[in-house]
Structures are given as C-alpha cells and as structure tokens.
C-alpha cells in the first residue's frame, strides 16, 4: 500500500467512525515508516475535520462524534506509542491542559473538545472531571503548558474558573498561561469578568481560540 493509500485509509476510518479500521490503518502507517505527524495531519485530522464540519452543520450528532473521537484516539495510541514525550511536545502546535472544573462531573463536552484539539495538532493533557483548582494550577506548572482549558456545566461550578485565574494571579504566574473556558452556562461576558483570556462555545470554536491564543503567545 502506498503512503497516500494509508493516509486515505486513516481519514476514512475516522469518517466511518470505525476504531478497528483506524487501529489497522495506524499499524500499517507505523510499518510503512510514515512520520506520525504526517499520519495525523494528512490522515486522521482530515477525517476529523469532515466529522466536525458535519456536526457543526447539524448533519451528524453526538453519538457519531464520540465514535469518531474513539477511533481517532485509538489510532493516536498506535501511532505515538513509542514516541518520547519530548519528541511529541516538539511536534505539537502547543500544550494544553484540559479538565472539567471542581464539583462538576459533566465531561462529555470536554472529551469531545480534547479530541478536536488533538486533531488540531495540539498536545493535550486531560486531568478528567471534578478537578480541584489547586490541582489544575499544580499540573499546569509541572507540565509547563501553554493553555489551561476548563469546562463548567453548572452555575454552581462556574466560580471554579474564576478561582483558577485568582490562584494564578496570587502565585504571580498569571502571564505564564492562557486561560480558555467554556461550558453551557459560561459566556463571553463571564470570561471577561473573571479575567480569563478566551471563551469558546463549541468544540471547533475551542480549536480556533486555542490557535489564536498560541499566535498571541508567539507574538509575545
């Protein structure tokens, strides 16, 4: 199979939301010696773009999106299994810490955003759900991330986003991280009010915002 055929197979596996096919194609990419980054950018991510566009247009729904995400993550494990963290970091668009905020267990949206960010070329560290504010800040420092992304799905848990910004300020490290927040009750007004950097309403919006934030970081 040519490189082009393998890349096409990777793309199709995501579009068909088929984890088995994605694992098979990723295995073939490894054997053929295809650079994992090319496999992602020219294969998997193209499939994810198709899925994301169809979702934004209302032609696809969450269940298919979840299966596509699962296929994507399955292939990623095969492609990057042997690569060191350092090599992965070098290749990424930027490093993002993602979580659902303290007290909040709604993580389906966060999981979709995570996959979309990976598909967009970012290195994503997922802390899971109901993550304490202090833990978010500690992990952000330890992993030297560029962006802290957090989702809150309840009005009672939104204040954790404000607390993250406050702790970063207290520790004098606010300018080391960009804060990108979202979730059903979250609004651009709220994000401005708490002094965070960006708001995203949708998963594809989160990727755009993350890219814009990285451009800001590079401009310095």
């Amino acid at each position: 199979m040519s490189q082009q055929e393998i890349l096409e197979k990777l793309k199709n596996a995501i579009e068909e939301t088929d984890s088995d096919l994605a694992a098979e194609a990723a295995g073939e990419a490894v054997i053929a010696g295809i650079d994992p980054l090319i496999a992602v950018n020219e294969g998997l991510s193209k499939g994810m773009t198709t899925i994301s566009d169809l979702f934004d247009e209302g032609e696809l729904f969450i269940p298919q999106l979840l299966l596509a995400a699962e296929a994507f993550e399955t292939a990623m494990v095969v492609l990057f299994g042997d690569m060191s963290d350092e090599a992965r970091s070098k290749a990424s668009q930027g490093k993002i810490l993602i979580h659902t905020v303290q007290g909040d267990i709604h993580d389906i949206g966060k999981n979709i955003v995570k996959t979309m960010l990976s598909a967009g070329g970012f290195e994503v560290i997922d802390l899971g759900r109901d993550v304490a504010v202090e833990e978010v800040v500690r992990q952000a420092k330890e992993n030297k991330v560029d962006i802290i992304a957090g989702s809150a799905l309840m009005t009672t848990t939104m204040p954790a986003q404000r607390d993250i910004v406050a702790v970063l300020k207290e520790e004098g490290i606010r300018d080391q991280f960009k804060c990108l927040f979202g979730g059903a009750p979250v609004s651009p007004e709220w994000v401005a009010k708490i002094g965070a950097d960006a708001y995203a309403e949708t998963a594809s919006g989160a990727v755009e915002q993350a890219k814009a934030l990285m451009a800001e970081i590079r401009r310095g």
Partner: protein, 278 residues
C-alpha cells in the same frame, strides 16, 4: 403562574435502581457511579419497587401540593427513559451503544420505562394534574435515534397515564430543532424547551392543541443577569410568541439555587406588564 411543580432532582430514580449519589449543601446531588456496563449487567438489572428509594418522598410532596394548591394545576417531576438509561450506563457508553449495541440500550430502556410508568401512576394517584418528564439526554441523539431510543418509550408512559385530568409535559432543554417531530410523536400534551433553541423554530412545528413552554436562559439571564435584562429578555420573548396561542412562558430549565429573588419578580412583572399591554 399557571402551574406549580413540586421539586425533583435528577438522581432519585437512578439511586433507586442502585447508583450511588453524592449530596452536598451547595450543589444539586449527582450520581457518582454506573451500574450497567454490558449486555449481562443490562439483563440482570432489577426494576425497583415504586416504594423503594426517595421516590415516595417526591410523590408525598406532589400529594401535599395537590391538597394545598387548589387555584392552579400541580405537576410532579420525573426523569425520562433515555435520560435515566444514560445515567445507569454512563452517558458516553449509552450514546456509543445507541449505534454499536442497540439491544443493550433497549433492554435498559424497557426497565426504565416500566419503572417510569409506575412512578407516573403514583403521581397521578397522589392527585397531581400531570407530570413533567425531563428527557434532556435525548437532545444528544440524531432524530431517528430519538424516535428509537426515547420517543417510543416516552409514548408508552404517556399512553399509560395521560387523560383529560392528567397531562404529560415532555421537557428537553437540548438542541431540539430537528427533534420536534419525534417529541410530538409521543402524544404528550405539552412540550418544554430550553434556551438552546429559538422558540419560533420549535413552536412553529407544533399544532395549537398542544402547549409549548419555554425558554428564558436560567443561567445567563435569570441567574447572572440584571433585573433589567430579565425584564427585557422576557418581554422580547413574549412579543415574539404573540402569534402563538399555545405558548406558555417559562424558564428554559430548572433554576440555580442561588438565583436572585428580584430577578424572578422581574420575570413575573414582565409577564404582568405584557398582559396589560404596557
């Protein structure tokens, strides 16, 4: 106010089925585990007695409300079949299984529906005039899936309890513009929508002999907004709904516990002023 609904939380039914629930002073209770993982655990899942768990407390509240609130209809509240199944299975597992392992989801749904019919009947026997059936998780499904995994089972509940004196109001605060036909296929007398939709888009799809409720944003407007924003938003919605005689003003979902009372007053003032033509 045209109706009074007694309290509900979204964990009572799941807890009765055997899930663990975390309670705190500041938050709504939430389920902390899943109990259906595969076909075998779906098959061995037992439908609990209607006397078990906290269900009887909610039914008692509906009974007291029916006895003491006599100038308007009273409603109980319960979780819809797919939303309950998704809690028992874990939401991601349920959504993935809706494509890859439909049979397992149907096994769970049949049990949720069996319990739901008994629960709705208990509210009816307690004297409530109806029940609000919260089915938000169905908002994540494709329209055909909504027919298959939600509406078909909601219809079973509707058929079992609804009559001239007892209405089912189907609530879905998700993105439902493409799901309206599926929702109406349940035959429920009322449909309640959240702020994810423009009311014009949904109400225009629903015949006038059904009631349509919605949809002031409970978080960004009613909780976070000023009294002016609440009044302005409410009046704007009422204005847009003027051509629709089957519209009933409501919030888009249940209200956060810390909501300012002044904002609720502003909401009702807006309705009053609108009705008086101000």
């Amino acid at each position: 106010m045209i109706g009074a609904m007694t309290g509900m939380d979204l964990t009572s039914e799941a807890q009765t089925f055997g899930c663990k629930v975390s309670f705190s002073d500041k938050e709504a209770p939430h389920v902390t585990d899943e109990i259906v993982f595969d076909r075998a655990s779906a098959e061995s899942l037992q439908v609990p007695s209607i006397q078990a768990g906290r269900g009887p407390v909610f039914v008692k509240a509906a009974e007291l409300a029916a006895q003491n609130i006599t100038d308007r209809p009273t409603f109980g509240g319960m979780l819809g079949p797919f939303s309950l199944a998704a809690v028992l299975m874990g939401i991601e597992r349920a959504l993935k299984a809706s494509i890859k392992d439909k049979q397992t989801v149907h096994i769970v749904l049949e049990k949720c529906t069996q319990y739901g019919i008994a629960y709705a009947k208990a509210f009816k026997e307690a004297g409530a005039n109806g029940v609000l059936l919260a089915e938000p998780t169905a908002g994540l499904l494709a329209p055909k899936q909504c027919d298959e995994f939600s509406s078909r089972y909601v219809k079973e509940i509707v058929d079992a309890v609804q009559d001239e004196g007892f209405f089912v109001v189907l609530h879905n605060c998700g993105q439902t513009v493409k799901l309206v036909n599926s929702m109406v296929s349940t035959g429920a007398k009322g449909y309640h929508f959240g702020n994810a939709v423009d009311m014009v888009d949904v109400i225009s799809q629903i015949p006038e002999d059904y009631l349509v409720f919605g949809n002031i944003d409970p978080a960004r407007v009613l909780n976070e907004g000023t009294t002016e924003l609440v009044k302005g938003t409410t009046k704007a919605l009422l204005g847009k709904m003027k051509p629709y005689r089957h519209f009933v003003l409501s919030s888009g979902c249940d209200l956060p516990p810390e909501i300012p009372i002044a904002n609720l007053e502003s909401f009702f003032e807006a309705l009053d002023e609108f009705n008086k033509g101000k």
